[in-house]
């Protein structure tokens, strides 16, 4: 009998490998890094306000209510694609969107916002990408949801479209707002 059982060992090993590799390859396919910053406070920073070019902004200026933090740049094609959706959210959803203008030319960035309209409460100029690094950003666009105490509760990598907003972001925003009441 034991001889027959041992016949299944290769099959079991094969199945185990299939399951492990299956999980492994799925992780790589998703091309999305799990964020190391979920449930951690928004990192502090001192960056210039994009529009004024003078005023310094810090993390405290973003904290107070549930809000979106969007990393964008004029060099980023997907940022143009997601822009109409951000405008729609800022118009219809009564939620503040803060912009992090990532490694960009300030003049070009201001022109860009004039051309495509500005959905942001304000944007800060992250010329060296230091705030982006503190946020674990590795490309643009990326969108974070912070709660009213300034803790990062959600991160989305890639453009925000109607589907992403409805299925991934809005439920988190609604949940966080529900907790406040």
């Amino acid at each position: 009998m034991s001889f027959q059982k041992s016949l299944f060992i290769p099959l079991a090993a094969f199945l185990a490998m299939t399951i492990f590799l299956g999980f492994g390859f799925q992780l790589e396919n998703a091309k999305v890094l799990p964020s190391a910053l979920i449930d951690k406070p928004l990192p502090n920073f001192q960056l210039r306000d994009l529009q004024s070019g003078q005023m310094l902004r810090s993390a405290d200026d973003l904290i107070g209510e549930v809000a979106l933090v969007n990393v964008w740049g004029t060099w980023c094609p997907n940022c143009v694609i997601e822009h109409p959706q951000l405008l729609k959210i800022s118009r219809e959803q009564n939620i503040k969107i803060f912009g992090i203008n990532y490694r960009d030319n300030n003049v070009e960035a201001k022109k860009w916002l004039k051309k495509y309209k500005d959905p942001y409460a304000f944007s800060v100029s992250d010329d060296e990408g230091t705030l982006a690094i503190d946020l674990g950003v590795y490309g643009a666009p990326e969108t974070f949801i912070i709660d009213k105490s300034g803790f990062i509760r959600k991160r989305h990598v890639g453009p925000v479209n109607a589907k992403v907003w409805k299925e991934e972001l809005k439920p988190v925003v609604d949940h966080l707002r529900g907790l406040e009441e």
Partner: protein
């Protein structure tokens, strides 16, 4: 012949890929070596399978600058790796840390080794057990042969 040329070009071009363009000045050889070591064991977050040394991605350039800054400030290798780990998680380390999430990764080779040893022992034992059977089988076999030859 054509193939060996292709192989030659491939091997030569690989070397150039691993060299980063920006050169940061360091006051001494020890820091330069540590810089090279760190950027070769940190993975570029954007490129899935290139280290910081071998990537031209914007984020890799920025992270190399940060590694340089931290080394000049006198940070230890451990502090630099912590900085990256805190922001980019396990992905950024080519030498992953031992914790609950990477437990399977670290322990599976040992478990597989033990399992293989167990299977090997079992096979050896069952082979020994089947030896007396073979004698009986041979008897039966001879009987069949004899009955056939009639």
């Amino acid at each position: 012949m054509k193939f060996s040329w292709m192989l030659f070009v491939f091997l030569v071009s690989r070397g150039t890929v691993l060299a980063s363009i920006d050169a940061y000045p360091f006051p001494n050889k020890e820091l330069t070596d540590r810089y090279e070591e760190l950027i070769s064991e940190l993975r570029c977050p954007q490129c899935l399978n290139t280290n910081l040394a071998g990537s031209d991605a914007m984020i890799a350039q920025d992270l190399r600058r940060e590694v340089h800054r931290m080394l000049i400030e006198g940070k230890t290798n451990e502090e630099v790796l912590d900085f990256m780990y805190y922001r980019y998680g396990d992905f950024v380390l080519y030498n992953p840390r031992f914790d609950l999430k990477t437990l399977a990764l670290w322990l599976s080779p040992f478990l597989l080794f033990i399992l293989a040893g167990f299977i090997w022992l079992k096979t050896v034992r069952t082979e020994k057990e089947t030896l007396p059977w073979e004698e009986e089988d041979e008897k039966k076999f001879n009987e069949i042969l004899e009955s056939r030859s009639d």
